[in-house]
């Protein structure tokens, strides 16, 4: 079963609003995670402009020797991306599901301030459940 290393959510201006790592591999300190987030935001924007074909929506998948990075951008510009083992399956589904959780437990929470770091207990609880391995298989059906 493929392992997820970490999950990021960045707001439309590139600020990291949620970061969570899973397991020991790929663990990063706060500064590094912020750096990855803003770097990815810029690369994503540049890739749209450098694309040889028009209508490009940015990088969806980055494949490296030791990890894969899957990215999903919502219509409002919030980006969700997950760093996982090379060749991991069903990550698009997982990201869409995380987006769903975000719309439910973050955006409908009256105590959440837009574009600010996410501190919502219910979001954490549901995310943990979703990332559990069997759940990812279920999502991939």
């Amino acid at each position: 079963m493929a392992a997820i290393y970490s999950l990021y959510i960045i707001n439309k201006s590139g600020g990291l609003i949620y970061y969570k790592d899973y397991g020991s591999a790929g663990r990063m300190d706060t500064n590094d995670s912020l750096r990855v987030a803003s770097l990815w935001h810029s690369m994503h924007a540049i890739s749209q402009q450098l694309s040889p074909v028009s209508g490009c929506l940015g990088i969806e998948l980055l494949q490296a020797d030791t990890f894969d990075l899957h990215c999903f951008q919502s219509l409002t510009g919030t980006k969700f991306f997950v760093v996982c083992e090379p060749g991991a399956q069903h990550m698009e589904n997982l990201l869409k599901f995380v987006y769903e959780l975000y719309t439910d437990y973050v955006l409908k929470n009256p105590f959440y301030e837009m574009e600010m770091p996410i501190r919502c207990e219910l979001f954490d609880i549901n995310l943990t459940q979703a990332v559990q391995k069997d759940r990812v298989v279920f999502l991939g059906r």
């Binding site: 009256p110 105590f111 501190r119 219910l122």
Partner: protein, 222 residues
């Protein structure tokens, strides 16, 4: 031919029973509206107690109206299509005479009656289900509790740590208070989080503390 023999023909359009309409609203739409209600009230207050009170007041107005509506609809529960009343069929439970005598339009006058009305009828209309439990307080005679594992208004809400014991269920507490007050059972109603053993999330308990006059009247009625 579709529905032949099934649809009753009404000679006069006024004889047709009123369409009950859609009974449900979108949960998302409600969640956003409620979220906005909380956010707006938050800008109007400077402490949490005040916010709780404002939410309760908002609920109170809902409760008072819900009681009125449900009492009025009571006759509908007896005869769902109201066909008997309007077309004068003899098979109906309710006749015109009964209505003029005030049947239907039932209102509870006893303590346990009104509590189970809130716990089942009101809850079903507002949240689509009966409340998880209705209990009598163990320490005080005048206290009753309605508990809900996952209160609908709290479904998407996480309370920040710095807000302490604040519970958006205050809105529902207000609804309960509105219903009880309208029915002649003045009470103080509050919403609390109660931690559950073996559960990650606390449940919400609506605590109802009746006014002394209510208990005195109840004792007199025997």
């Amino acid at each position: 031919m579709i529905g032949v023999g099934k649809v009753k023909q009404y000679g006069n359009v006024l004889d047709k029973p009123l369409n009950k309409g859609k009974q449900e609203v979108s949960l998302s739409a409600f969640a956003f509206l409620f979220s906005e209600l909380v956010q707006y009230n938050q800008t109007q207050v400077d402490n949490i107690g005040e916010l709780e009170r404002r939410l309760e007041d908002a609920g109170y107005a809902v409760g008072a109206r819900v009681l009125e509506l449900l009492c009025h609809r009571d006759k509908v529960i007896l005869d769902p299509d109201m066909r008997g009343y309007y077309s004068g069929q003899s098979s109906s439970i309710l006749s015109l005479k009964d209505l003029s005598l005030g049947m239907g339009n039932r209102r509870e006058t006893r303590l346990l009656g009104i509590l189970s009305f809130v716990h089942s009828t009101v809850w079903k209309v507002l949240f689509g289900k009966v409340a998880d439990s209705l209990e009598k307080g163990t320490e005080h005679e005048d206290e009753y509790m309605i508990s809900e594992k996952e209160l609908l208004v709290n479904k998407f809400i996480s309370i920040p740590k710095d807000m302490g014991t604040f519970n958006c269920g205050a809105f529902v507490a207000g609804i309960v208070r509105g219903v009880l007050d309208g029915a002649g059972f003045p009470a103080v109603v509050t919403a609390h989080f109660v931690p559950m053993e073996g559960q990650q999330r606390p449940r919400t308990t609506i605590l109802i503390k009746f006014a002394e006059e209510v208990l005195q009247r109840e004792a007199r009625l025997g």
